[in-house]
């Protein structure tokens, strides 16, 4: 059967004449990558993407003006490499940057990429009727002017160390001629959203909901053809199903192996694993405001010393080892080790159970004789931790936290909720404690949205803990305004130490995910912010290819042979 299929593919190759388009001398050009993933993308419009699957796919189809580079430097333009812009020029006062568009750059419908596309991308993203998650991050960009069709000039409100990053990292450029005729509020439901046209090294072929998304190489791309000819995201909603697809060879890549999968992967010599640092951290956050009356402090967690005592009762290294094995390190704070601004030796609240008990005693929380739960004025030290039932990691973490807090005399009930129900509680700040995970970006400045005063006081803010400390905000602001890397790091260190000592959360884990892949694949660097970004450089040498690697690199499906017809 396999031989027959193989023969048919060869025949199909001959029929559609695609063999001639591929350089036979290039051993690395060709092959299919099938990626196991857990869900559909939410939308394939770069400025509206929210889910990671959508980010992976749109990053292959749409190019930015410049790429941040593997160092993830965000200061000025150091480390950034040309993409749609082949070069750029800073103005003398640094309040504008002129990007020159690569004249060879074309959209997948053959229209040339123009400076108008750049201006349109920025203005449409800032349009509040569109509802782009990136709009709030473009506030320093005043406007984009287009003196000619090949030059887009970004004008900034103020000079900032990361203004170049703001201009290029957040937004892949979108084609004006496709999107301008459509009202922003109708973008998601438009036909264009389902047949996206980009300028990246891969073109869109099809999206079959709950089944697959397929892209093919844009062989005429201005950056050159990518090595792999086909990319397929194979959607398997069940984790076990997705892993089994990978283990049986139906897919080539699985991005989120769990500890228990490693022995099984090791049994397959054709499979390999690789660990990488991701920009994620897991934390158990306290609600500092009363869930019923937001104008009052939380009856328990409004007290800083109580939060510190509970944090001190948690043996984080043991917890992390139990849940993640070697797949994570204890988190340092609201940051990740990959940031150059993060000091890996940040002072932590240490695990010290006897000291935690002493503090609780001194706060008046005494162990009851009837049970082991502490009480003060008749009120038990009891609260609820809400976790999403769909997250195995968070449920496991909750159970360990419960046991460790019990030893300190605190009774923590674990409430498992559906994800939307949990999010409703978080956005209304109607919880005692939750376990949350944040996927951050290369800029550590995002910390202000999650832990700053602005995010706490705005009704639409994401600081659901309602943590507020002006010293923290001031240090982050100073860090973000500083052009000197050493000073920047010092300010951030001071900010992190402030929030760690205030303990609005127990900083639990910084995951280092392990990906599994078929050994015939030659991977490039897995970048912390986006492991997929170098997929165009991945390759499969000709001698290691399997039948699915030899399907034609064409956006049109070749004619199938009639049933039973013999192949040459």
């Amino acid at each position: 059967m396999a031989a027959m299929t193989h023969a048919r593919i060869l025949c199909a190759l001959l029929l559609c004449g695609c063999v001639g388009t591929e350089s036979s001398s290039d051993k690395n050009t060709g092959g299919t990558l099938a990626i196991s993933t857990g869900g559909d993308p939410d939308v394939l419009i770069p400025s509206l993407v929210q889910r990671v699957q959508a980010a992976q796919i749109t990053d292959m189809m749409f190019d930015r003006l410049a790429d941040i580079g593997d160092s993830l430097n965000i200061l000025n333009d150091k480390g950034f490499t040309p993409r749609l812009a082949d070069h750029w020029t800073w103005s003398a006062d640094s309040l504008s940057i002129a990007f020159h568009i690569n004249p060879k750059a074309k959209w997948h419908d053959d229209a040339p990429v123009r400076s108008n596309d750049v201006r349109f991308t920025i203005t449409s993203t800032k349009d509040t009727t569109l509802g782009s998650p990136n709009a709030a991050l473009l506030t320093n960009i005043d406007s984009v002017s287009t003196p000619d069709s090949a030059t887009a000039v970004f004008w900034f409100h103020s000079r900032s160390p990361q203004q170049f990053y703001d201009a290029v990292y957040l937004l892949p450029i979108m084609p004006e001629h496709v999107w301008k005729p459509i009202p922003p509020a109708s973008w998601r439901t438009s036909d264009a959203a389902r047949n996206p046209i980009g300028s990246g090294q891969y073109r869109f072929v099809r999206w079959i909901p709950r089944a697959a998304v397929e892209l093919v190489a844009d062989t005429a791309n201005y950056r050159g053809a990518p090595n792999l000819r086909r990319l397929i995201w194979s959607i398997a909603p069940d984790f076990q199903g997705a892993v089994t697809r990978f283990l049986t060879g139906e897919t080539d890549f699985f991005e989120a192996l769990r500890l228990e999968n490693l022995p099984e992967v090791a049994k397959h010599p054709e499979l390999s694993t690789r660990q990488y640092h991701a920009l994620q951290y897991l934390f158990a956050q306290f609600n500092l405001r009363d869930p019923a009356h937001h104008d009052r402090p939380h009856p328990l967690f409004g007290n800083r010393e109580l939060r510190r005592a509970l944090t001190m009762a948690i043996d984080r290294p043991t917890l992390v080892k139990s849940v993640y094995g070697s797949f994570a390190l204890p988190a340092l704070g609201p940051t990740v080790r990959s940031y150059p601004t993060t000091d890996p030796n940040l002072a932590q609240i240490p695990f010290d159970l006897p000291r935690a008990r002493q503090i609780l005693d001194s706060l008046g929380w005494r162990v009851s004789t009837s049970d082991s739960v502490r009480r003060r004025n008749g009120r038990p030290l009891q609260f609820t931790l809400s976790v999403p039932s769909s997250s195995k990691v968070r449920v496991q973490t909750a159970v360990i936290l419960q046991e460790q807090l019990r030893q300190a005399g605190a009774k923590m009930d674990v409430e498992q909720l559906e994800f939307p129900a949990l999010m409703e509680k978080a956005s209304k700040r109607a919880f005692d404690m939750t376990i949350n995970q944040l996927n951050t970006q290369p800029s550590p400045g995002a910390v202000l949205g999650s832990w700053g005063i602005g995010g706490s006081r705005a009704s639409s803010g994401n600081n659901s803990s309602s943590y507020e400390n002006p010293a923290f905000d001031a240090n982050v602001d100073s860090a973000l305004a500083s052009f000197d890397p050493a000073k920047r790091k010092a300010y951030f260190t001071s900010a992190y130490e402030t929030i760690i000592q205030d303990a609005p959360a127990i900083w639990l884990a910084e995951p280092s995910p392990v990906v599994g892949y078929h050994s015939r694949l030659q991977l490039a660097t897995l970048r912390p912010d986006a492991w997929w970004i170098h997929i165009p450089e991945w390759s499969i040498t000709a001698d290691k290819r399997i039948p699915r690697d030899n399907t034609p690199a064409s956006t049109t499906v070749p004619p199938a042979l009639p049933a039973g017809q013999k192949t040459p």
């Binding site: 929210q50 397929i232 909603p237 199903g241 129900a421 956005s427 999650s450 639409s460 049933a563 039973g564």
Partner: protein, 323 residues
């Protein structure tokens, strides 16, 4: 008969409408909404979520949302699926054939297998075979569906790799196969989910059918048949089975909703792109239009299934034809 069918169809339409209204209200009352599920992305602020709610009219009072939904329904539109980024009509249109294929095969397979097992058991009642088959069917009947499905997946795709892991076709190679290859590919992908569902459902059928057969065996007409000199096999096939099928026909009607929703685990674990998983997943993501659309289609199928069972019942039992 035609008047009775017309009456039943009117009743069915009323039931579907009531079910749709109740579903619409309940799913909107559940905590959270379609845009509350992206909390781990710090860029997605409450302001962004609010803009999206306005875009889709979810900021309007519930009666207004309902009126709009009914209006679009009257125009043949089931709304927009937030989780699939396409019209609900299209989502269900692609899922329904897959569900009907899987359900149809499983329904025919499970009833055929269940009746066959029951016949063997009754023909050899009291024997080791009877006890063994009773034990197996009881074991399968009481086994949690999701566990059995995962076990099937591991057993026949990984430990003994006979079948593909999931999906309705091989998405990488299907388009490059010939017609024969495509048919074989589809059948290979259908086989394991269908066999799993068949085995799970046939256990119940076998137990019901065995009990029904044992009920009719002491009847006078069976004794008469025996006195006429018919063999035990002839008696079972021609007389006992025909009369014992009546409760099974009722079961067929009841199996429609069970198979539609009961296939959830099979569809999820085998990544079968059918209705069960689409609708159940839509509840979790608060994809309101898809939930209500799925329930409408599901309740139409259930009421039609029930009507079909009644018609079959009337055909099988002449005493009911005049009622």
């Amino acid at each position: 008969m035609i008047r009775q069918i017309a009456q039943r169809l009117v009743q069915a339409a009323v039931i579907v409408a009531i079910v749709a209204v109740i579903t619409f209200i309940l799913i909107h009352l559940a905590p959270g909404d379609p845009f509350s599920a992206v909390m781990d992305n710090p860029n997605v602020s409450e302001a962004v979520r609010q803009t999206l709610r306005v875009q889709y009219g979810l900021d309007r009072p519930l009666p207004e949302q309902f009126a709009r939904y009914v209006s679009s329904l009257a125009h043949g539109e089931l709304g927009w699926s937030f989780s699939h980024a396409r019209p609900v009509r299209e989502v269900l249109g692609s899922a329904l054939p897959n569900t009907l294929l899987l359900m149809g095969v499983a329904l025919v397979g499970s009833f055929t297998l269940g009746i066959l097992i029951a016949l063997i058991q009754v023909a050899r009642r009291g024997s080791v075979t009877d006890h063994a088959l009773s034990g197996i069917s009881l074991f399968l009947f009481s086994m949690p569906d999701f566990w059995f499905v995962i076990l099937s997946l591991l057993a026949f795709t990984y430990w003994l790799p006979i079948f593909p892991v999931g999906g309705a076709v091989d998405l990488v190679m299907h388009e490059y196969m010939g017609l024969g290859g495509r048919i074989v590919d589809r059948l290979r992908h259908l086989a394991l989910p269908a066999i799993t569902l068949t085995v799970l459902a046939s256990a119940a059928v076998a137990r019901y059918q065995r009990a029904a057969l044992l009920d009719v065996l002491p009847a006078d007409y069976i004794r008469t048949a025996r006195l006429k000199g018919l063999t035990e096999r002839q008696i079972l096939r021609r007389h006992a089975l025909r009369n014992a099928l009546l409760p099974i026909i009722t079961m067929i009607g009841l199996s429609f909703p069970a198979l539609l929703t009961g296939a959830f685990f099979v569809e999820k674990i085998f990544a079968w792109p059918g209705m069960g998983y689409a609708v159940v997943n839509a509840i979790g993501t608060r994809d309101y239009p898809l939930v209500v659309g799925g329930v409408i289609i599901g309740s139409i199928m259930v009421t039609l299934g029930s009507l079909l069972a009644d018609l079959l019942y009337a055909l099988a039992d002449p005493r009911l034809r005049g009622r």
